[in-house]
């Protein structure tokens, strides 16, 4: 599913990842752990094609990216992302001028738009459909973000500190939803400080100062 070979990354002169290599199989729930500044968010951004790495290459499903310029060479990376990848961020990143339903519709493929109400119902937020992000709680926003990540039934979901701003009850809801996606065959990669992820993860990748442990 994901094959990473010698990925390195620099921010200016500062190197944050050092020749990282590993593999993730389809349907795995991967816990990407490490302390703050260990490079896990950078690695997650690279794997999800949101950031071009400085060096190395990786295989993501059918996408073969040779770095540093490779990702841009693949036509329609945006479409690839929409069809295959789901994201959950720590701060939900909903668009403030779109309501809950419109935020999900923005991410949805045309063929999946009819499933919006169902997914909102499954996540218990159907009654929030017409509300705007600033009109709902943090936990509800993160559930909307989850619905947005799941709407296209992606092959892979990347989550960066998805429970960082949630209480334990809402954190459990998020992990349960991710675990449910894994059961349906989705690959999930979660970068987090939260050791609760271990209860759900089938594989753990540990980073220390930009290197695999």
């Amino acid at each position: 599913m994901i094959k990473v070979k010698d990925i390195s990354h620099f921010y200016g002169d500062e190197q944050v990842l050092y020749d990282v290599s590993f593999e993730i199989k389809k349907g795995e729930f991967v816990f990407l752990s490490g302390s703050s500044g260990s490079g896990k968010s950078t690695l997650l951004s690279i794997l999800s094609t949101l950031l071009k790495p400085s060096k190395g290459e990786f295989l993501l499903d059918s996408l073969h990216a040779v770095c540093p310029s490779g990702i841009e060479d693949i036509k329609n990376i945006d479409k690839f992302r929409q069809e295959n990848v789901g994201f959950v961020f720590q701060f939900h990143y909903l668009i403030n001028y779109l309501n809950v339903k419109e935020n999900i519709a923005l991410a949805a493929l045309d063929s999946k738009k009819q499933n919006i109400d169902k997914i909102l119902h499954d996540l218990g937020i159907l009654d929030l459909a017409s509300r705007y992000p600033n009109e709902i709680s943090g936990g509800q926003r993160q559930r909307v973000a989850m619905a947005r990540a799941l709407i296209n039934e992606p092959k892979i979901i990347f989550a960066d500190e998805p429970t960082g701003s949630l209480d334990s009850k809402n954190s459990t809801i998020v992990y349960e939803l991710l675990a449910k996606a894994v059961k349906k065959g989705t690959t999930v990669v979660v970068a987090s400080h939260d050791m609760q992820v271990q209860n759900y993860a089938t594989k753990t990748i540990r980073l220390l100062d930009g290197k695999l442990q």
Binding site: L51, D78, K79, F80, Q82, Y93, I95, Y97
Partner: protein
């Protein structure tokens, strides 16, 4: 629809752009309209009842022109001339007003000033334009060093005249020490020749009557008149500068606002939305915003231009005319600058990795 949602939800930012565009557009509308209005009023004064204008040779301004009024006696004898009259145009303090236009004219031209009250003036008498009359509550008025009896009020539809004084040309000649500022000639429509040919023939014939006169058709005079060129050029420079500053402001604000939305663009890219999708929505946002602000500015400017001639303090001298060409030019420029201002930073942002855009938005 996303473009409309973005505009309506970000009310403060939208209002800021809307206000900036409105002010910039109104600046050029009002500056250029008022200058066009000044030219229009003076042109109307000259063109009404006149096909040919005779001024002193070599002068730059009709205010300094001095033509021998006796030339009229020779002009009216020329075949093809319908009528001829002389005018003196000057300015002087009138009553408590620091300055007002003074129009001295021959008797045969008095009927041009439609009386709304009283009778036409004889020597030592004046009639007042309706705007000026509303500010003078007396039977007499001091003009320069002399006091004149007010015999009536007139209306001509020309702002300059409505705010001024009309008197006998002899009184005006004493006041401004000249015979006539210019002479105007109306031509007949003779059989067997066109009106234009007749006017051209008359110009040639009148030119031979006196070595010290310059004879032109009123059309060519208005086209070539130095004062109009000065007004046009200076208003063009001032309005262009005002507009350029306004447009730069529009582009800057659009650019700043687009930059402040980098996080949003990063999220959209992360969700698989293409650069074209983001650019298209921004394009429509800019289009909607600039076009609606333009329309608002147009309506407000037209309203102001309608009110200006009726403000007593301005004596009707400030009178605006907004041409279709100016309105179209401003519309196109406004939309182009607003679109450029938003699309350039958006295009630059679209080349950045989505996660960097998201993180920049957070910082």
């Amino acid at each position: 629809m996303i473009a409309l949602k973005a505009l309506s939800k970000n009310k403060f930012k939208s209002l800021l752009i809307f206000t900036s565009i409105t002010i910039a557009v109104m600046a050029i509308f009002l500056i250029s309209s008022v200058s066009q209005g000044i030219i229009g009023m003076y042109s109307k004064m000259i063109k009404t009842d006149g096909d040919i204008i005779i001024t002193q040779k070599g002068i730059a301004d009709t205010f300094f022109s001095n033509v021998d009024i006796d030339v009229i006696k020779k002009i009216v004898k020329i075949n093809g001339v319908k009528s001829s009259y002389a005018m003196i145009v000057g300015a002087s303090p009138v009553g408590n007003m620091p300055i007002a236009g003074i129009y001295g004219t021959t008797k045969n031209h008095m009927s041009h000033y439609k009386l709304t009250d009283g009778v036409y003036p004889n020597k030592g008498e004046v009639i007042l334009g309706s705007n000026l009359a509303s500010q003078i509550d007396s039977d007499e008025v001091k003009i320069g060093a002399k006091t004149f009896k007010i015999t009536g009020t007139f209306s001509s539809g020309v702002g300059f005249e409505e705010g001024g004084v009309v008197m006998n040309i002899k009184d005006a000649g004493d006041m401004f020490s000249r015979s006539a500022s210019f002479i105007l000639v109306s031509a007949l429509y003779p059989k067997g020749t066109t009106h234009a040919d007749n006017i051209d023939n008359l110009v040639k014939k009148i030119t031979t009557l006196n070595d010290d006169i310059e004879v032109k058709t009123t059309k060519s005079f208005v086209k070539e008149y130095n004062q109009f060129k000065i007004i046009e050029n200076s208003s063009l420079v001032i309005s262009s500068l005002a507009f350029a500053m306004g447009l730069m402001g529009i582009a800057s604000i659009m650019s700043m606002i687009v930059n402040s939305r980098k996080e949003e663009f990063g999220i959209m890219r992360a969700l698989g939305k293409s650069r074209a999708f983001i650019m298209k929505n921004l394009f429509f946002e800019s289009l909607i915003m600039s076009f609606s602000a333009y329309l608002f500015a147009l309506v407000v400017s037209l309203g102001i231009l309608e009110i200006l001639p009726h403000i007593e303090k301005l004596q009707g001298y400030v009178n605006g005319t907004l041409s279709f060409e100016t309105a179209l030019y401003v519309l196109v420029s406004t939309i182009i600058m607003a679109v450029i201002g938003s699309l350039i930073p958006a295009f630059i942002a679209s080349k950045t990795d989505p996660i960097l855009l998201i993180n920049q938005g957070c910082s």
